[in-house]
């Protein structure tokens, strides 16, 4: 039996999913789509069910590809029961989605979640009455405390076994209902090969036109003309498109239902309001924000570096001993060294920073701080042609660009996703921090390292501005729900971290290991010179020695490798003997901006597509060249002024 879990954002859907599915949840890609639904086989009350966690959505009116996939999926025969989670403290809004789901005609169960929060807000809901008005089971739930899960799934199993179809609630506007009925009758006669209930299909087609149909079906002229005829009929009768009139009707209906079954308590000034008075304050809000971010980065840095050091020496020790077992300089030793280095790169360099980072981010996200950060940062982001929501990938980027690129998922517009992905990969991640600190701070002083950071932010802001102005259309502006603060459950936060860390382990780590093996082989078979020749145009333009080419190429595998390899390539232990300060700065700026590491490229390819990945990679090389040259020019300018003075 397959149960689809659906609800509006912040209704506690993932909390329920994690309560039931736990760490066993598996992520599966559905064929023909880029949308990932999480599916998990779980055993509830002695029965095995497949639970599908669909992305949170306010409405079924598809505004992007992912949502279109959700609608198709829900209406397909693959789903036996739809489990709709509604936030009891925001009943009216939740019911709008419920009314849409009723129209699908599938077995449906409504779970009123967060009953405790609603009670605290003085809201009481008459469940049985709502049940009789909707005609589907309505059950109370407190997912965060695990209360009400058993009765809920008993009801789900019961519905699934009986396959009880539901009836939609007719529209109060008789005209609309007549149109739905006559279109569904025509659709029925057309003998279409679709999984849909006829009335459900009629409503969705009226709301979305032939967008919803697959290519094969939208080629059917008769069908398209029929839909168009009815849409025109609605516009003529009501002066509005069906999309508007249907949602207005549901909006009013949801209000009416909520008014009938719930009573509101007295409105009070809660601690929530007081927290927002501080956290969103025009001055203190920013002070607190900086404080939170500072503590966050400090904790991540301290935890990461405490783990990194001992682990690195452990692996280095193992690599040093390897020759004793498999023969010094043998092919097998080189391959094993590559493998060990790849493993150590993941376990000692990436995961020690990534894990506390994801935990902290998961906590801030679950508590509800991230949307507030978006609110505070919106005006700054506007100047870069973006809106506040884009701040999250940027902050993530300072830890690692991979989760940054993954986080662009939460942006609705393709335009925003592309722009934010392009910009967030320029944020210096932990690996590039190693280069900035190990080279610039170490040889030239920490204030120059700080200048590089400032320079980086300016370049990102300018690139954003230029791209949104020249290439992409107008920024749609921020529209974002600010959910109430909630105490996250440990379980949910840990599971979220685990799922995200797992994505790195599965998708990026193998590439890292393969890259490290390649690096060893390149050293072994001495194709270093050939590679240096290939990169000569770049290194020549930048005024760098040609031996720097190889470290730059390997930086694509792992950014911190550029620094590690640099000593080896220049054949010195003290880099300042081989590079001038000007060259160090040029090199570092180039490393910060050029092609992100392989793992990030893989993430770009997954979140966007192969073409965009190449575009972004090429763009990053161009930006790296330009900025490195500007940096070089600035250094020359500053030193010559210094000489004159």
């Amino acid at each position: 039996m397959r149960v689809a879990l659906i609800g509006q954002p912040n209704c506690g859907k993932s909390t329920l999913f994690n309560q039931v599915a736990g760490y066993k949840a598996d992520t599966g890609n559905f064929p023909g789509t880029t949308v990932t639904f999480t599916e998990s086989s779980v055993r509830v009350i002695g029965e095995k069910i497949d639970l599908v966690d669909l992305p949170g959505t306010y409405s079924l009116t598809a505004s992007n590809l992912a949502e279109k996939e959700v609608i198709r999926y829900l209406s397909s025969n693959r789903v036996d029961v739809i489990l709709n989670l509604v936030d009891a403290s925001h009943l009216r809004q939740g019911l709008e989605l419920t009314l849409e789901l009723l129209e699908l005609g599938k077995p449906l169960i409504v779970a009123l979640n967060m009953m405790d929060e609603a009670a605290r807000m003085g809201i009481t809901i008459d469940g049985p009455q709502l049940e009789s008005l909707l005609g589907v089971p309505v059950l109370p739930l407190i997912a965060s405390k695990g209360r009400g899960i058993k009765p809920l799934f008993t009801s789900v199993l019961d519905r699934g076994r009986n396959g009880t179809l539901v009836r939609r609630i007719p529209y109060q506007n008789q005209d609309l209902d007549d149109i739905i009925l006559s279109l569904s009758k025509e659709l029925q006669e057309m003998d279409l090969n679709l999984d849909w209930e006829w009335e459900a299909l009629a409503i969705r087609l009226l709301e979305e036109g032939d967008d919803l149909l697959s290519e094969a079906e939208s080629g059917d002229l008769v069908l398209r003309r029929t839909i168009e005829k009815y849409i025109q009929q609605v516009i003529q009768q009501h002066g509005k498109t069906p999309t508007w009139i249907f949602s207005e009707e549901r909006h009013a209906h949801a209000q009416e239902l909520a008014d009938r079954v719930s009573t509101l308590g007295e409105e009070r000034v809660t601690w929530q309001t007081r927290a927002d008075d501080l956290l969103l304050h025009p001055f203190w809000g920013y002070v607190v924000m900086l404080g939170i971010l500072l503590v966050f980065f400090q904790v991540v840095y301290l935890t990461g570096s405490a783990i990194e050091g001992p682990l690195i020496s452990l692996f280095d020790g193992m690599i040093a001993k390897l020759g004793g077992f498999t023969g010094q300089g043998s092919l097998i030793t080189d391959i094993l060294t590559g493998i060990l280095q790849g493993i150590s790169g993941g376990v000692a360099i990436v995961l020690p920073y990534l894990t506390p980072f994801l935990l902290g981010m998961g906590f801030l996200e679950d508590v509800g701080y991230l949307p507030r950060l978006a609110f505070l940062m919106d005006s700054l982001m506007q100047r870069m042609g973006l809106h506040g929501k884009a701040i999250v990938p940027f902050i993530l980027g300072y830890g690692c660009n991979v989760p940054a690129v993954m986080a662009t998922r939460t942006l609705e517009d393709r335009r925003d996703r592309f722009l934010v992905a392009t910009l967030s990969i320029m944020v210096p991640c932990a690996a590039r921090i190693a280069v900035i600190f190990g080279l610039i701070a170490f040889y030239l002083g920490s204030w120059i390292a700080l200048l590089i950071y400032v320079f980086n932010i300016i370049v990102i802001a300018l690139t954003g501005r230029i791209m949104s102005w020249r290439i992409l259309k107008e920024n749609p502006g921020l529209i974002l729900e600010i959910p109430p603060y909630r105490m996250p459950t440990l379980r949910t936060t840990f599971l979220k971290t685990w799922f995200r860390a797992k994505e790195f382990v599965i998708e990026a780590w193998p590439l890292l290991i393969a890259g490290s093996i390649f690096l060893e082989l390149a050293n072994r078979y001495k194709f270093a010179d050939i590679l240096n020749l290939l990169t000569r145009p770049f290194t020549w333009l930048l005024g760098l020695p040609s031996a720097v080419g190889l470290p730059l190429i390997f930086g694509v595998l792992r950014k911190e490798l550029s620094l590690i390899m640099l000593r080896q390539a220049l054949n010195v232990t003290d880099i300042s003997q081989a590079l001038t300060p000007e060259q160090m700065i040029t090199f570092t700026i180039f490393v910060v901006f050029y092609i992100p590491c392989l793992a990030t490229l893989a993430a770009l390819r997954k979140e966007l597509n192969t073409r965009d990945m190449f575009i972004i990679a090429t763009l990053s090389v161009v930006i790296a060249m330009v900025t490195a040259l500007i940096g070089r020019g600035l250094v020359i300018l500053v030193t010559s002024i210094g000489v004159i003075i």
Binding site: T61, S247, G477, L478, I479, I482
Partner: protein, 75 residues
Amino acid sequence: MRLIDIEVNTAVEIVSFEGGKGISSKLRRLGLMPGDQIIIIKRAPFRGPLLVDANGRSVALGRGVAAKIEVSLCE
């Protein structure tokens, strides 16, 4: 008048959405429609967004968006 011109803590009713289909459909999906009552709770500094309460739900609206929402004062 437009939502952007309204003072904090004043109850207004949405009259209509102007401009692109994108903005109005996004607002609609969030459950904001003409006829609904909203109150501005906060304004972010530096020409930042507005925080409004709409039927008990807090929503942040960028200034560009707020300039496209036509409202009238509630009695």
